[in-house]
Symmetry: C2
Subunit: 321 residues, 2 copies
């Protein structure tokens, strides 16, 4: 453990002056100050009282593999679990582990991503300690043309889990963004590998903004993104959420392998905020009316024809009212 943290641990609930810390650890005052700031960035909370000193008032909420596994009741999903303090991106790590033969159910978790991946080559903001940034490895025996099903399935599982656990009324924006009151609360990105027409593996990347505060979002996301804590008014235990998600995911995944896409489609449609709205995508504009059996969004054009659209970025125009 860090010597500064040891010192605070040996004097619980006491204020320690900068000079005292500096003397005890044999480092300069400015080194003490720098270290306290670094720990704050990691999620430690210090009360600072001028001319009195610092008190350790809170520790970061760190994920613990042992405590997650102790709570987890899934058959497969989440095992083995690989937990990192920091990764470039959990998707990249998943790809590396797939190349080494990682098995179905493997879960990669990182407290922080330095290059989190979003859809369409965008980045995904992943500050430490306040979100769930993960990649889940699946190896379903399904035709390659069914790959879109898994994206929709993941959105259904996450949406249901959030509703069940927090009472927040999350909705799915096609194909797989979760929205709360119009703001994005999570992102899903599935990377699939095919060998010829055989689906070999899926790395399902899932980012959930759990306990981010408003200030944790960069300027360009201030109006567009929110967190479960901001939406629900109280912090959410990340480990409890993670375990609930994996269990929900396993439920829908097993159902899908047993009964196909039909039940997923029904629930997706019920949870969707995209249907019965006008959408404009890739030159096509019309009313989104449902999903087809491949998982494409069905758009009814103004001339009455209905066309299937696979995922890309849809811009919602006016609500249908």
């Amino acid at each position: 453990m860090n010597r500064l943290l040891e010192l605070f641990a040996s004097r619980p609930d006491q204020y320690l002056s900068g000079e005292e810390i500096s003397r005890t650890l044999g480092v300069s005052r400015s080194a003490v100050w720098k270290q306290i700031n670094r720990l704050r960035e990691e999620g430690y909370v210090f009360d600072a009282v001028p001319r009195v000193g610092y008190k350790l008032a809170g520790k970061p909420d760190k994920l613990q593999a042992s405590s997650i596994l102790a709570k987890l009741k899934t058959n497969k999903l989440g095992r083995p679990l690989f937990l990192f303090d920091q990764l470039d991106s959990t998707q990249n790590e998943a790809q590396r582990r797939l190349s080494e033969g990682a098995e179905e159910g493997s879960l990669i978790l990182a407290e922080e991503q330095t290059a989190g991946k979003g859809r369409l080559g965008r980045s995904w903001h992943s500050p430490p300690g306040k979100g769930l940034w993960m990649s889940l490895i699946l190896k379903p025996d399904i035709p390659f043309a069914s790959a879109p099903h898994l994206t929709l399935l993941t959105a259904v599982a996450l949406c249901r889990c959030i509703r069940r656990l927090t009472k927040i009324e999350a909705l799915i924006k096609w194909p797989n963004d979760l929205l709360v009151a119009g703001k994005k609360i999570s992102g899903i990105l599935l990377e699939t590998r095919l060998e010829e027409e055989r689906l070999v593996s899926v790395a399902a990347g899932i980012g959930i903004c759990v306990n981010l505060e408003q200030a944790d979002f960069p300027a360009e996301l201030q109006d567009k993104a929110t967190s479960l804590m901001l939406a629900g008014g109280e912090p959410v235990d990340r480990e409890v959420l993670l375990v609930a998600f994996l269990e929900e995911m396993e439920h829908w995944y097993e159902l899908y392998l047993r009964e196909g896409f039909a039940p997923i489609r029904t629930v997706w449609e019920a949870l969707s905020t995209s249907l019965q709205r006008r959408v404009a995508v890739g030159g096509v504009e019309g009313m989104a009316v449902g999903l087809n059996e491949q998982g494409a969004l069905l758009v009814r054009l103004d001339d009455g024809r209905t066309v299937p659209i696979f995922s890309s970025n849809i811009a919602e125009s006016t609500p249908a009212g």
Copy 2:
């Protein structure tokens, strides 16, 4: 260069006795003998005359990146070129390089693969110096559902290139094996990565049995596989073949991106040995009659219905006569 090879190079066309070599290099007679055997495994040919000695009579046919690039007239395919003496598999290396951002056209070549990958999880026999074992990276901007097109396109390019260069009448067995007189001469395995429904990259693995002799094939392939040299009666220059393939591949790839699958389909059907034959695949049995626009094989059942079949392993039963 190896000191033994240097010694032979300094005395061209001379026989050197084991004792002389041993004395000159300062190593034991048995070390000389071991090294000659090791060089033989690498493709060097030594004439050995009892009580006279050894003469270097042939060097291995080694691929040279500089000489390949000097011959290559493609716009993109084959550049950059990564040439290895030995790899686990060029497909694995391609995946590693894709994770590091390898660009379209990149080519991975290995003189030998220790764990070459075939279709359906099978291994691919890849002895050193006598074949072309490669992976070509493509990044076409096409819908994920078009992935099967690229498999068929690769088979067309390779089949045309072999026919043009060697006059060997290669035929395509659905989906992508090349046959000469009923024996397999090459294998193609495409590994595709999707992000959601966007095709991100393809590693096209291509193995061509160029100058393998009958004894180079393991027992279980003796009846099933052959090489261009065995089929055509003379060795084929591997670099010339490689360059011709990349040029042919680029031609069909550019045509496909410009005009879609229709021209590929026509040529594939003309080169195919699978059509107008009875096939049995996954419970379905009937007459193979063509490809549909997605690249699936159309099979006409005995009741008159025609069903599309995506690639898997088809067992040919009786020819249609």
